[in-house]
């Protein structure tokens, strides 16, 4: 058997793709003393297989070891990962793989968590009525806040703008005579407005009376 062929068989073996016949060929190869130096690393597995364990020994742990390397490199297929998980679901784990047992056992435990509550509505929502999410309520509240706030702000700015004008029209009297004069002017203005209002009222009443007379 040439080296290239053995390399190919080993590669298939690590990927768990070898046939029974190919595995026998590998065992035959490793039983002989004259094996290539590049294959020496794999020899103990096959020698152990032949000498100590007999035909029933499986190489699962070697395959799993290979898969674990791929697992940590995130290159393992889903099927390979499932084999790893299945392997670690048993308590009897090979010595070389015990360091990984805790990790995969933990994943297994996490996968055992169950939802044990009944699948039923606690409170059935009325049909046709949509439940408004809290987010939208918050958005609506924020919008109201900004609109009301904006109005207040607008009003207060307006007040600030008109206040100096009002102040400018206020004239402080310098002596009592001037104060009296200003008061009389103010009263006269009020009197004029009152008279004008009274005239309009009388005129209105006259119109109503005329209309009543015409109606009778």
């Amino acid at each position: 058997m040439n080296n290239l062929y053995i390399d190919q068989l080993l590669e298939k073996f690590w990927s768990a793709e070898t046939t029974e016949q190919e595995e026998k060929e590998l065992k035959t190869y490793f039983e002989q003393a004259d094996i290539d130096e590049s294959h020496a690393y794999a020899s103990p597995f096959f020698v152990d297989f032949v000498q100590d364990k007999g035909e029933s020994e499986d190489f699962t742990h070697l395959i799993i070891q290979k898969f674990i390397k791929k697992y940590f490199d995130a290159t393992a297929s889903l099927e390979e990962e499932q084999l790893i998980h299945e392997y670690f679901s048993q308590d009897d784990v090979h010595e070389n793989l015990k360091c990984y047992h805790g990790l995969f056992r933990s994943f297994q435990l996490m996968g055992q968590v169950q939802f044990d509550k009944p699948l039923a509505l606690k409170q059935k929502p009325a049909s046709g009525i949509r439940i408004i999410s809290l987010t939208w309520v918050k958005v609506a509240a924020a919008a109201v806040f900004f609109v009301v706030g904006g109005l207040f702000l607008f009003k207060s700015i307006n007040q600030e703008q008109t206040a100096p004008l009002a102040k400018a029209r206020y004239i402080e009297p310098e002596n009592p005579e001037e104060a009296l004069e200003m008061t009389l002017q103010a009263l006269a203005m009020v009197s004029r407005k009152y008279k004008k209002g009274e005239e309009q009222l009388l005129q209105g009443m006259k119109t109503i009376n005329n209309a009543k007379g015409a109606g009778n």
Binding site: S106, L109, M110, G111, V113, F115, L119, K122
Partner: protein
């Protein structure tokens, strides 16, 4: 007319996945249960359309994810230590194994909780639920390459910490 029982029977087969996913994201059992309840309401409100959904599991996982994200944004209280869940004691193992499981799970959860959220989520979807890269990509909105990169980083981090395991 679809009855409540018939409607929710359709998600019975993957309800545990939904709950674990919510639990993994929220790290709080009550919050995770709230999310499942909210999911049931969503399904009830769309009961006519729900039958038409081809991949109900994917749809429910997406809604669950969105509800969890809303809840994370809204809440302020601290989360629960997931390794303290009662299920550890319920799997029928001997006290020694239960103790060992608890210790190992604590180490794994500590490492996972120290990972960025997206890496933790991807590890959960792949290693606990067994989803394909494509399914994870569809659910998280990442590309398949991004999923692989995040998974690689998360697993390398786990590998570094493996020396702390008891065996």
């Amino acid at each position: 007319m679809q009855t409540e029982n018939n409607l929710f029977k359709q998600i019975d087969v993957f309800k545990n996945k939904l709950f674990r996913y919510a639990l993994n994201m929220l790290k709080n059992e009550l919050d995770a249960e709230d999310v499942i309840q909210e999911l049931l309401i969503r399904i009830w409100q769309r009961k006519e359309q729900f039958d038409q959904i081809e991949n109900k599991e994917a749809w429910c996982m997406t809604v669950t994810r969105n509800l969890c994200i809303d809840k994370i944004r809204a809440r302020k209280q601290s989360s629960q230590d997931i390794s303290e869940y009662h299920f550890i004691a319920d799997h029928g193992a001997t006290p020694d194994i239960v103790t060992e499981d608890r210790e190992n799970l604590k180490i794994v959860m500590d490492v996972l909780n120290a990972l960025p959220e997206n890496q933790k989520e991807i590890i959960h979807l792949r290693d606990v639920e067994g989803y394909t890269y494509k399914e994870i990509a569809d659910l998280t909105g990442l590309s398949e390459d991004q999923v692989k990169v995040n998974l690689f980083r998360a697993r390398q981090r786990l590998k570094e910490k493996l020396k702390n395991f008891k065996y």
